[in-house]
């Protein structure tokens, strides 16, 4: 059920695009107006969300430690897992953002004979996660060939590397296949493993199905229902330079692809996909774990509120505590007891 609605939603989008591509008035809407709208919502929404996060106070150090913190000089410490200064935090963040180090630590629990609980390392999520993200990045950068004229050198270099297998014409791009495989794994994982199926929501399935559909429509457009790329570039480059034109003779598959991509852009700021910006702001990763060495004072503490130690607190409420039967460090003075 939870996968059914997102699936229907993606099919509906494809249907809308197929119908729209046949009507020339709607071609303007889907091919030109929608991309502008989608990009504006993506950029505006992204900035808004991050500013919203930036306004949220982070008063305390809440890094997670996964290794020995800085202590006595002869105790071996783990600078990346328990960073003590900004440089070490930068190292930890670099590994997190570029190599998904947290996912690398993924474990799986199994109940064996006995019953005996054992934890083993499980690297598949990391492997397919990283394949997915880097393929996606390469594919996005490759698309710049359709939005820039002249085409920057780095785009050509990426295209060359991606098509290095030189199979067929048009050449096969490795990343297309890797992306499809990786998304299929990430989707299959949620559908097949019972624990994951239990915690998966439509908001988990929708982006996966959408990205899968985007990849499939792009691949179909390249190898099966080919479109005139020269005409497509006139449209896309026109959009990027704010002088849009709609050349005729662009195949329907292109509109399917564009509608799906625009949906992803619009959906992005409202969804879990915001982890793209969020990963930089993970407080458990991006703070140095030095609360033993440095006293962190909450900057917006009210100076009128004085520190109140437990001893003071007990002095103030000792009578009531004794009355309520709570344990106290210091008993009431015996004289008062006698009077009772």
């Amino acid at each position: 059920m939870k996968v059914l609605y997102p699936f229907i939603a993606v099919l509906a989008l494809v249907a809308v695009a197929l119908v729209g591509s046949q009507i020339s008035g709607l071609q303007y809407l889907l091919g030109i107006a929608l991309p502008y709208l989608a990009f504006a919502i993506f950029l505006g929404g992204f900035v808004y969300r991050v500013l919203q996060w930036a306004k949220t106070p982070v008063p305390f150090r809440i890094p997670t430690t996964c290794g020995q913190g800085k202590s006595l000089s002869w105790i071996k410490r783990d600078p990346l897992d328990c960073p003590n200064n900004k440089l070490e935090v930068a190292g930890r963040m670099f590994l997190e953002i570029f190599l998904f180090r947290s996912l690398f630590r993924n474990t799986k629990a199994e109940i064996g004979e006995g019953p005996q609980l054992s934890y083993g390392s499980s690297k598949y999520l990391w492997l397919f996660g990283i394949l997915f993200h880097y393929s996606f990045l390469v594919i996005i950068l490759r698309h710049l060939r359709l939005f820039t004229e002249p085409i920057p050198l780095f785009v050509k270099v990426i295209e060359f590397g991606d098509g290095i297998l030189q199979l067929g014409a048009p050449t096969i791009y490795q990343t297309d296949l890797v992306l499809l495989g990786a998304v299929a794994f990430l989707l299959g994982r949620r559908l097949i493993m019972p624990q994951l199926r239990y915690i998966s929501l439509p908001a988990d399935y929708f982006p996966l199905l959408l990205i899968f559909a985007i990849a499939v429509s792009g691949i179909l457009m390249r190898w099966v229902f080919r479109v005139d790329i020269i005409a497509v570039k006139q449209l896309t480059d026109g959009i990027a330079s704010f002088s849009p034109v709609l050349p005729d003779g662009i195949g329907a598959m292109f509109f399917v692809h564009v509608v799906l991509v625009c949906t992803l852009l619009i959906y992005f700021p409202f969804s879990k996909l915001m982890h793209m910006g969020g990963v930089f702001l993970s407080p458990t990763r991006n703070m140095s774990n030095n609360s033993r060495a440095v006293r962190h004072i909450n900057p917006w503490n009210d100076p009128n509120i004085k520190p109140h130690s437990y001893a003071d607190y007990e002095d103030e409420f000792r009578e009531f505590m004794v009355e309520a039967g709570l344990p106290v460090d210091k008993e009431l003075p015996p004289a008062e007891k006698k009077e009772e």
């Binding site: 993506f42 950029l43 992204f46 900035v47 991050v50 500013l51 996060w53 930036a54 306004k55 106070p57 982070v58 008063p59 710049l144 060939r145 939005f147 820039t148 004229e149 002249p150 085409i151 920057p152 785009v155 050509k156 295209e159 060359f160 030189q166 067929g168 014409a169 048009p170 190898w223 080919r226 479109v227 005139d228 790329i229 020269i230 005409a231 570039k233 006139q234 480059d237 026109g238 990027a240 330079s241 704010f242 002088s243 003779g249 195949g251 910006g277 930089f280 702001l281 900057p299």
Partner: protein, 131 residues
């Protein structure tokens, strides 16, 4: 602690990168490629729209047919027969690689590796003269 001093510059970098396609090469005159039409011929081997979309698929198919299956029979275009070949077929009518194929390809950023081995008409001529 709000960390605005780090978040705002980060956000600006993101916006600059995300709008790369807009500011890169802005103001340049956009020229749509105009491949040179062959003189003396009216028809391509397939309808023009189909050629624009999928000439590379056709070439791939020809290559497989000729080399793997030995099917070298000729193809018809505008009532005449032509060799099923890149150099002697396509390039028979589209004589200039530079003024035809390359014009589109540099616009679309494709560099077919076919020319590593196959020769354009100009090169063949040069070779014949040398011999």
């Amino acid at each position: 602690m709000y960390d605005g001093a780090k978040i705002i510059p980060g956000l600006i970098i993101f916006v600059v990168l995300a709008t790369f396609a807009i500011w890169y090469g802005a103001g340049d005159v956009k020229q749509v490629p105009k491949p040179e039409k062959p003189v003396g011929y009216t028809n391509c081997v397939k309808p023009t729209q189909e050629m624009k979309e999928s000439h590379m698929t056709l070439l791939n198919q020809w290559r497989d047919e000729v080399i793997r299956e030995g099917k070298r029979e000729q193809v018809e275009a505008g009532g005449k027969m032509y060799e099923k070949s890149l150099q002697n077929g396509c390039m028979h009518c589209h004589t200039s690689k530079e003024k035809f194929c390359d014009v589109c390809h540099s616009y679309a950023s494709v560099r077919p590796y076919c020319w590593d081995c196959h020769m354009s008409a100009k090169k063949i001529k040069g070779l014949e003269e040398a011999i």
